[in-house]
Symmetry: C2
Subunit: 174 residues, 2 copies
């Protein structure tokens, strides 16, 4: 699948079939994230990869909108450095965004759907996944084969701002 087609076709998928991801598929998704670029090549990420159904269910309780995690074939927790004493914190999150995009586009190409989720219950997630105090977890990504019988519509408004509103040539156009 071409990059452009993957970008155009990409939609959030929140309902998955029961089929597991073959190991080669899972590893390619993870490897795509591992290969992402980052500021000064800092690679400020670790991936805790959850496939155990009970653990997926427990992780889905760590945020208000994480229901999709419970039914995922696999969930990647993107663990990044904590903010305390970290003057690169904002860049760490920017880089995590690049890393997430790589994983989701690599999945898309293999017919695997995905959905980003936000972790609000930080200490609950820490107890579940065991990462140390100098790391935090804000972002998880559910992966799995899209359930063809499920409504996949998102929670928020759909669509994108028009091209000519987003793009300013040479200087900001109010």
């Amino acid at each position: 699948m071409d990059v452009w087609d993957a970008i155009r076709a990409k939609r959030a998928v929140r309902r998955f079939t029961n089929a597991p991801l073959p190991d080669a598929v899972a590893r390619r998704i993870l490897d795509a994230g591992r290969r992402a670029q980052s500021a000064k090549n800092s690679q400020p990420w670790d991936f805790v990869v959850v496939r155990d159904r009970e653990r997926l269910r427990a992780l889905s309780q760590c945020g208000a909108w994480l229901g999709h995690v419970a039914g995922a074939a696999l969930c990647v927790a993107i663990v990044t450095p904590s903010p305390a004493g970290n003057d690169r914190y904002v860049w760490n999150l920017f880089d995590a965004g690049q890393c997430a995009a790589y994983m989701q586009l690599a999945a898309q190409e293999m017919g695997v759907g995905s959905c980003l989720g936000t972790v609000y219950e930080a200490e609950r997630a820490r107890a579940l996944l065991g990462y140390p105090e100098d790391r935090e977890l804000r972002i998880v990504i559910s992966f799995g084969y899209p359930d063809p019988d499920a409504q996949q519509g998102g929670l928020g408004r759909a669509g994108r701002r028009p091209f000519d509103e987003v793009v300013h040539w040479e200087r900001w156009q109010p």
Copy 2:
């Protein structure tokens, strides 16, 4: 070009030929960024797109490591909401990271090289590009056709952390 091939082949390109980007190529790169997902579909980005050589040179003076901007065919300034009174700031930067990845992978597929840069001279950049006080500019991306005669080596260390160091199965493994 497959997504996976684009991800595997992606390298920072800092030296470009003098060839401009055809309009269709430039617009596809920008449209890839426009189509990126974002928290609550907030799309917290505007792109100021610079092609004028004098403006590119001036923009290249807005950070210590922005030399690549001066020789780019086109530079995209990713303008995002300022931090003051903005409780979504960290998410805005995460989303900007996704957006940057989409643009760079779309460019890669069309044979266009790119390089991320960091803006340190914020007020100088603001005067040059004219975005309002409630927005800021931290990230620019240079785009252009790679100069085949130039050394494209990066500033930082190369390579990536090994897969088994980055990936933790089910729980964090120290």
